[in-house]
Amino acid sequence: MLTAIFLPLILACFIPLISKWKYSIHTGWFVLIIPFSIFVYLIQQVGTRFSPFEKTYPWIPSMDIHFDLYLDGLSLLFGLLISGIGTLVVLYSIYYLHKSEKLGHFYLYLLMFMSAMFGVVFSDNVYVLYTFWELTSLSSFLLIGYWNHRKGSRYGALKSMLITVFGGLSMLGGLLLLTIVTDTTSIQEMISQKETIMNSPQFGWILAFLFLGAFTKSAQFPFHIWLPDAMEAPTPVSAYLHSATMVKAGIFLIARFSPILAQSDWFFIIVSGFGILTLCWGSFMAVRQTDLKGILAYSTISQLGMIMAMLGFGTKIAVFAAVFHILNHATFKGSLFMVAGIVDHETGTRDIRKLGGLMTFMPITATLAFFGTFSMAGFPLPFLNGFYSKELFFDAALLHHFSVEGFAQLLKVIIPYLAVFGSIFTFVYSMYLVFGTFRGEYKERELKTKPHEAPIGMLISPIILVVGVIIIGLFPNLFNESFLAHAAKSIKGVEIHKHIKFWHGFNSVPLYMSLAVVVLGSILAYTRKRWSSVYNVIPGTLSFNRVYDWLVDKTTAYSEVITKGYMSGSLKHYVRYILIAILVVTFGTLWLTTDLTISNPDLASIGIPDMLVVGMMVIASVATIFTNNRIAAILILGVVGYGLSILFVIYRAPDLALTQLIIETVTVALFLLVFMHLPKLEKRNESKGTIFFNATVSILFGAMMTFVAIFSYSSKWFEPISDYFLETSVSLGGGHNVVNVILVDMRGLDTLFEITVLGIAALGIYGMIKLRRNKGEK
């Protein structure tokens, strides 16, 4: 299994080397070996006696994250789909993509995606699962944007990225909660602890987060909008990612965790409710599309909704039908995408309004399309596999022996009707798809080239898939015991044996539901043009695309408005924010802290010289604010500095006084030198409100600092260390000047870095002045 995961990644590294010879041999041929050999390896596991097994490789043992791989029936089913359809898609792409395309990029992304999908389905560790989950999002983003010169591709890629990554992150939240609740990172161990999870208070969150992850990935309502836009990708990509593999990752997640989550009624309500809603909405909207791949995209959405709904029912038959339909859907939808690609390739358009009457030009393609679409529609013919899963679906939707209460009861009653409604529209778009393209009148003028049959290489893959459709249709029990039963068992936890029959007799309700679908569907399909104006009423202008666009546009617009609002570029504003933030935080803390006391145990007495000096400094400070002359402001500021040095003298700090005196002189001199070159201060035209606001902030800030100083002086918790310095200055430092001993001896490191700071400042000033360049000079 480890090989299966990493083989594609390793080969991906060699793609750039191989693609150098792409003009002699198409790169795809080298790639083809990989999925095929993995398919051969996996197919050997299939058998009645298959039993799950696991392998563990240490990855981050200290965080209990191991590379746990687990292969059970469900993983095997998905692994076979990924490798099998992967092989066919690579084969198809060899003929689809011309050698002049960037083949290296294409196959690199595709192999990356394949690796990621194998990782998702094989991993048993939630974090490994998440890692690969995001890798699928990333590689699908790259694949959708493959033709990145097109605007639509970029839009679709971004949209799918945003939606699936949003869901992926939600899923990570759910997985983290699961890890916290169960104290393990292995999914199998989590399943064995399902009672703990059920009873934990976080269960609701776990449920919601995992659902968000699964619904966004599997394009469930209302997150389905990214899938139709992802149709800008090359058709092999659409066939692979958006029909068979990636969109089923959400289904896989729900199936994988359903032993844990299905205990709750909410699981039924949410999964089945949204599933059936997606089924109806997707099939209803598919009829409205004009693009072949658009129809198929909405069709995929609705089929995924159907599988999701069946997983939500959680009954034995429903789980079996879900597994069966995963297989069936992959076969017919893969072939239909390839057919759409062929039509696009041979006629140059995918617009169904321009197509018509292609049957005589492309008989093989038309036959393939016939099988695909009729199987999709669930037409009751014994060689179409879609019919079996559709009938199983109806059978499951009837929800016999299913006891629920409250809202779930209402849901139980309406689900069969909704199922029939969705299937009728499925029938309509299937007929529209096949008859609109291949029958009717041939519109010669609309097409640029004369259509002809596709080369045989391009036809091989859809032929194989259609043969699969027919084989499953003819022998529906072929894989039952050896394959599907194992997958169903790993979802439901118990053995499920189901014998699929074509004919159930006249007294089976699903038969009449199917007949109703065929009859009503045929009538609606025949009269489609008459009632298609209903789409102007519902959905009309209602669309989740609008919601998405609105969200993206408004988020960009408002974040720009907000950023422009506060990032004004004005230094004044930023200083204001900083001061206000400090004020709010400090006053808030002062307010919340209750044990603030003001005590004055050892306040010194204030002498007249002190008061005179301080009074002088206050007057000078106030005067600095009100002067309109720069030079005067500097000189008055100097008064404050000299006053401070007098205070140092009074408080017996001769070193400080000396330093302050000289530094004050130097700074005043420097200011004078610099400010001589500046223009005169002008009267600033500020509104009274601004002045008032600034004054308030300043006064509050001063008050705050005063409070902080008083409070911190009032609460001395420990003895100061200064006594130690006074005592040991002579004995340890050998000096009587304690300040100097502290500076050069006790705390010499501070001094060392202070002179370093000064040195840097000096060099900085020198650099700024000497090395500046005049404008225009380089």
């Binding site: 001769p654 050998g734 000047n737 300040v739 100097n740 050069v744 001896d745 000064l758 000096a762």
Partner: protein, 141 residues
Amino acid sequence: MRTNDVILRTTTTLIAFILLAFSVYLFLAGHNAPGGGFIGGLMTAAAIILMYMTYGIESIRKIIPVNFRSIVPVGLLIAVLSGAGSFLFGEPFLSQTFAHLHHVPIFGEMELATAMLFDLGVYVTVVGITLTIILTIANDQ
């Protein structure tokens, strides 16, 4: 364009020497009396700036043929090396010690402290920094 400033020049010769002597005193006395490398350095710089104001940059360059920028790293190097010197004796960085010397010719009783070497680094750095800043700004057009 300089006016005839004989008085300034004459007093400067006197005052500059007094200032320099005072700065050296401040520097040497720092360990036991107010002063030290920082104030001493500033005072020396003040003396040189006074000479600059009186005689101009050319004369200063002639009298003190030192690039003030390059003595900044010299001072820092002295400070760091005096700190690193304690490694030779297996002591932590910046460990200082001192010794009293008796019967020294001329001085008699005197104290020698390794902290003085560190202070010398501070002194040299401060002189270099102050002169670099002020002369750079003052000589800018």
